[in-house]
Symmetry: C2
Subunit: 274 residues, 2 copies
């Protein structure tokens, strides 16, 4: 099959391209949507509204705005600042026309992950009404436990589901990324829970290479590693998700190659999922 | 306090020292025990029995032999080979006089973690009687999920407890390493389960540095990172564990420094735990 109608690519995946060039290239390749990173907009020189219009003008949908979060801190004043910052990010998402902000929730060395998750819950609760008023959803993205030191205290789907339960707002849901969650024995069941509660908001794909060289920037293309990406995608679909399948890859190797060739490889790897 | 009676150090922690030099230095520093890695014995030129006698001759106990495992493979013949290899490792442990072999259980790209855990369970079940006959225990060491690609499909205490339940042998238990398990919200309760079932066999300490530079060889000394080592030690003690507290650190940084100075830092960091 050659259906690209669900294929979305994160601007950071093809980082050497600016947001305008990425929009043109994605459009020419038949890619349906782009998830837009803050830095890509900042370096474009365009306003968020102009950037969104420009991307859509190429026929490419804006799937998500990446990223908010980082709600944890030892000091209350820093946590309040994070909430203000997240409201600003929500406004940027609304301006660019993104229906969703992905949240990398934060963690703070020196306090327990339990305390950090409590602060995350409080921070999201203090932001969600602002998001709803702006017509923007928030997606908690559980990160791999190797990022629990300072990037995110939310490291599994069940923790994300628990926070969603506690906040209890229809604009709050979850972003499932295969890279962060593939190892979790509870993944299928927690995806089903999230689907049943209408909170599967977005789905990120890539692969975990065997013995990565780098904890951050050595992700693989789908099929290049150990994750059963098609299998997890089926779990997400079984749970009712029918949104974009977003290719988000941080890779020094791929950023260094010709980005046109890379885009062709992304399409090929995506289509090979079947 | 300055009680070193529970302090054990893994030979790999001070890798630049051979096993004989390590034994002398540990003894002079008042370190109670050594956990001995296979490569340290091999490079000593001594038999396992001679190495064990030499270490004990310095007044240093042999706590564990490291390491067995790697039970998974796509082919049955390779899995049988792994069982034979583990029996040989058990014999080496008996010869060196170690009461315990630590198991890094293995994982195989191309098969699911569920299948790998089944193979691990089968492999341990096929090895445990041999171990018992040799007077050696086996300790499943859950590894961090970032090692689930090819090092271990056992990534949490609850998975280790489940395998112990299934095999059901008093010579099979668990090695808890703070580096691998600190992120797990179920850690305290699963430690309690393991303690109640008499299967907390050994306890490894180090620290997770904030933003490690390397997935394998950038571990920190206790107190240098984000893990509440004293807190986890208290959970282990609450569960009835009163064995050695084993410092196991893979670190390019520490291997490069003067090992006498490093040993002094290890003692200092250990005593600072209180």
């Amino acid at each position: 099959m050659s259906d690209l109608s669900k294929l979305c690519i994160h601007s950071i995946t093809t980082k050497p391209w600016g947001v305008e060039e990425a929009a043109r290239k994605y459009a020419a390749a038949g890619v349906a949507a782009m998830s837009v990173w803050q830095d890509a907009v900042a370096s474009s020189g365009m306003s968020h509204q102009a950037a969104g219009n420009r991307i859509r003008g190429e026929g490419v949908d804006v799937a998500c705005y990446v990223r908010g979060g980082f709600f944890t801190a030892l000091e209350g004043i820093a946590r309040q600042k994070a909430i203000d910052e997240n409201k600003r990010i929500v406004d940027e998402a609304a301006a660019i026309g993104a229906p969703l902000v992905v949240l990398v929730c934060g963690a703070t060395p020196g306090q327990s992950l339990f305390e950090s998750r409590k602060q995350i819950t409080d921070g999201i609760a203090a932001t969600i009404d602002h998001a709803a008023a702006a017509g923007v959803k928030l997606g908690i993205e559980p990160l791999h436990p190797m990022y629990a030191d300072s990037r995110s205290a939310v490291n599994s789907m069940n923790q994300a589901n628990a926070i969603c339960d506690e906040v209890g707002h229809s604009n709050l849901g979850i972003t499932v990324d295969v890279f962060h969650t593939w190892w979790d024995e509870r993944l299928e069941s927690e995806i089903a829970v999230a689907g049943a509660k209408g909170r599967l908001f977005s789905f990120h794909i890539c692969d975990w290479k065997n013995l990565p060289e780098d904890m951050l920037n050595d992700r693989g293309l789908m099929g290049e590693g150990v994750i059963d990406v098609a299998g997890i995608r089926q779990w997400v679909r079984n749970a009712g998700f029918d949104g974009y399948e977003e290719v988000e890859i941080f890779s020094n190797i791929y950023w260094a190659m010709d980005q046109d060739e890379y885009l062709a490889k992304i399409k090929e790897a995506y289509l090979a999922l079947g």
